[in-house]
Symmetry: none
Subunit: 465 residues, 2 copies
């Protein structure tokens, strides 16, 4: 099927890539207060670009409160396709911190091409994927002076820190977000060249456990044997939160889980997945871990898991300091699957951590942020249009997968706006998101733009019967 928008996208590939590089140079690390200005700069650059390509009502929407201001949302629309569906294109322009810096082969905010990839923090998560939407819309507008359907764009700058601002905005059911479906490109293809739609996401609670012992840091020679050690207490708590097989020991945690259907499990078994290849190339550990009796895909897509991300406190420099720190922290998250919910899970967890607290220390358990798990129905016309468009561009049937990660906004779209999401992602399993040397395959960036062009054209076509 010939498309002038596809031609336009192909003719402008090198400019599109240079524009993406400019965006990647802005260190919009949302968790770091020092980068607050950079986050806003990224929003302003995107707003200017959305206006330049011809979208309307472009503006920043502020989030947070006067006491605790958030990062802005970017909004734009084009609503002149009378009688056609409306898509809500979602993406995020904030990125994870780049640490550890010394493991990057090229600087995280100096986009560098190597082996057909572009390397930079945010290359795939999510600036590169979000920018595919912008460039697909530009291609459609520039080649036809109009769009095949109505478009709204909403971009957030807090996805990597919990997305509180957009969650509040979505919950208010604003007219700006009235649409028929959402397009979300923040997931990955199951394998290179294999078109993929993600139809399930895990939720999460991200927490901190703070343990306090002595009133001040003490010398471990003088006080070792009398003063409680907060790190030892944390180790004792963490070691009792799950067993050595990865089974979480929090009472009641598994009660509300709905297992995948027999059909879904069968489809997963036919996916091109080689566990040994996955272990070697993606994980690289001597063996994989996790609950017995479940495949890797089940464990990462459809089972709750518990991880520790860091344990701040005490002495972390080179060499030795013989301190018993007054306090220590553990950053702990639990991934949730349908039909667990964050509030109840946190309550079970908090109560169990308190129960596990050893003598001599006080413990606080804090919820940093959370997101609901979600499961997308696949029997709607938008999913059908997506598989059709993907077949045209990639020449293969689409596979339906879940993701172990959390995209809380997808659940919010469903719950508050009744929008089904089409999660059409073009990342690859080895893209190192949230890690050093994050990358995006440049050919996927371009084929992703073409896929979105054809997807939006297909949704906007008159029904054939």
């Amino acid at each position: 099927m010939p498309s002038s928008a596809i031609d336009y996208a192909r003719q402008n590939q090198s400019r599109f890539l240079e524009e993406l590089k400019a965006l990647l140079r802005i260190p919009s690390v949302s968790t770091d207060p020092a980068h607050k200005g950079d986050v806003r700069k990224a929003a302003e650059v995107l707003a200017a670009e959305l206006k330049r390509i011809g979208l309307e009502n472009v503006r920043l929407i502020e989030t947070g409160t006067p006491e605790k201001p958030g990062h802005p949302l970017v909004y734009a629309d084009w609503l002149h396709a009378s009688g056609k569906p409306t898509v809500l294109c979602y993406g995020h322009y904030d990125v994870q911190p780049p640490d550890p810096l010394d493991e990057w082969l090229s600087p995280p905010f100096e986009p560098t091409e190597r082996d057909g990839n572009i390397y930079a923090r945010g290359a795939v998560d999510d600036k590169g994927q979000m920018y595919m939407h912008v460039k697909a819309i530009e291609s459609l507008l520039a080649s036809n002076s109009k769009l095949p359907l109505n478009v709204r764009v909403i971009l957030e700058g807090e996805e990597e820190v919990g997305g509180e601002g957009i969650a509040t905005f979505v919950a208010s059911k604003p007219p700006e977000l009235q649409a028929d479906f959402a397009l979300v490109s923040d997931t990955e293809m199951f394998a290179p060249g294999l078109p993929t739609l993600c139809v399930g996401l895990r939720g999460m609670i991200y927490t901190e456990i703070e343990v306090r012992g002595a009133k001040t840091d003490l010398h471990s020679g003088m006080y070792g044997g009398a003063a409680p050690n907060p790190f030892v207490a944390l180790a004792q708590i963490i070691a009792r939160l799950k067993d050595e097989k990865g089974h979480i020991l929090i009472p009641g945690l598994y009660d509300r889980i709905i297992p995948p259907s027999r059909e879904e499990l069968t489809a997963w078994e036919s996916l091109p997945f080689d566990e040994e290849h996955y272990r070697q190339t993606e994980v690289g550990s001597k063996s994989l871990v996790g609950e017995e009796g479940y495949s890797v895909l089940e464990r990462t897509w459809a089972r709750p898991t518990l991880d520790v991300h860091g344990m701040p406190g005490g002495f972390i420099g080179a060499g030795a300091k013989t301190v018993i720190p007054a306090k220590a922290l553990a950053k702990v998250s639990i991934r949730l699957v349908p039909d667990m919910n964050p509030t109840d899970t946190f309550a079970l967890y908090q109560s169990f951590v308190q129960h596990l607290t050893p003598p001599g220390v006080d413990v606080d358990v804090r919820l940093i942020h959370s997101g609901e798990p979600c499961l997308i129905p696949v029997d709607n016309p938008y999913i059908q249009a997506a598989t059709s468009a993907l077949k045209e561009i990639w020449g293969k049937d689409t596979v339906f997968i879940r993701s172990g990660g959390s995209i809380p906004i997808v659940g919010d779209f469903a719950r508050h706006l009744n929008l089904p999401s089409v999660m059409m992602g073009f990342g690859l399993p080895d893209d190192n998101l949230h890690a050093p040397n994050e990358k995006f395959l440049i050919s996927n960036f371009h084929q992703g733009i073409e896929s979105i062009v054809r997807f939006l054209e297909t949704v906007g076509e008159p029904a054939e019967n």
Copy 2:
């Protein structure tokens, strides 16, 4: 017993204190390269003073290597008491960093008198105590034109950074350190006015456990349930290294322990120690911890203990990062008591940590540094002379205590030079060493000088029978 040296010391109290203040004004912070010149200045001031009071062969002895120069030792001697014993007076002129500065009531390097104390960094640890030796020797020489025994003085400027320079010097068994016993004033009195000799020190192994899982940092959503988590592995290891009662579970660890004698335990029981006061004022935790069946003094002086000082790795910033780190570390130390030794203890520990290693991760166990425990025999003439001198000056019988900390040089003196040490300290438990508002009780400074005068006179007296 009248002593002209004591008279001299009493007549010169105010000058001695002013000289100490001048020494305390030199910010000889050995860990801070910016203060390297100040550390040397303190050494030069002391060398000049040792020469002025009449000691001989005064000189600085350089330490370290051309690539990594250390801080100098200060040496002096007076060896004209033919047929008399030789004392090696040890002290250190370097100090801890003064941070946190905003908690000091008066500036750390502007010595200030309040409530009978002198407040300054180094007031008690160890400039004030080390200077007592200098002023005791001055009093003896000035009042008698000779000393009652042979004296060597060795002062180091690296005690607060590991003491590598003096350790190397001692291990070379130099003629400058040939002596019959060492006098070390770097410990404290058990309670105000209670003359105290420290006769035991714990040793230590300071280690790092490094756990490696995946080859790179991974996203906990994508890989949680398949990738090993190094912090969880460390928690499992640490939780199994000792039980909740503080009993260390390393097989064989307790085999070589020589418990304190019945007499020593009885003596400890009669010390003025209020556990509840100690918990409230020194530790400040909701309760004390440690092995059942042992008193606080036994647990901190005569039992091995295991502490975790920090757990570097992963994400330690504010907020959330959903990373499964590729590796994580734990800084773990074990305090040793007689007759444990660092080499064997580390071997038992290393082997047990390897045994505890859960599936999916690799573990390295590294020894950072170590020190031998030591126990000073109390049935030697130097300890007898010390208790006799202390009784004269303080009017009370001496108590023998141990310290839970490590003073590696005492072990080095014993091992390499066959020197017993007399650890005669005049600090007090609330002197805030290594903390803001370090102080030294001025009356202890003066009575300490008198105690040392009488101690050296007593050692030099002809045997009475």
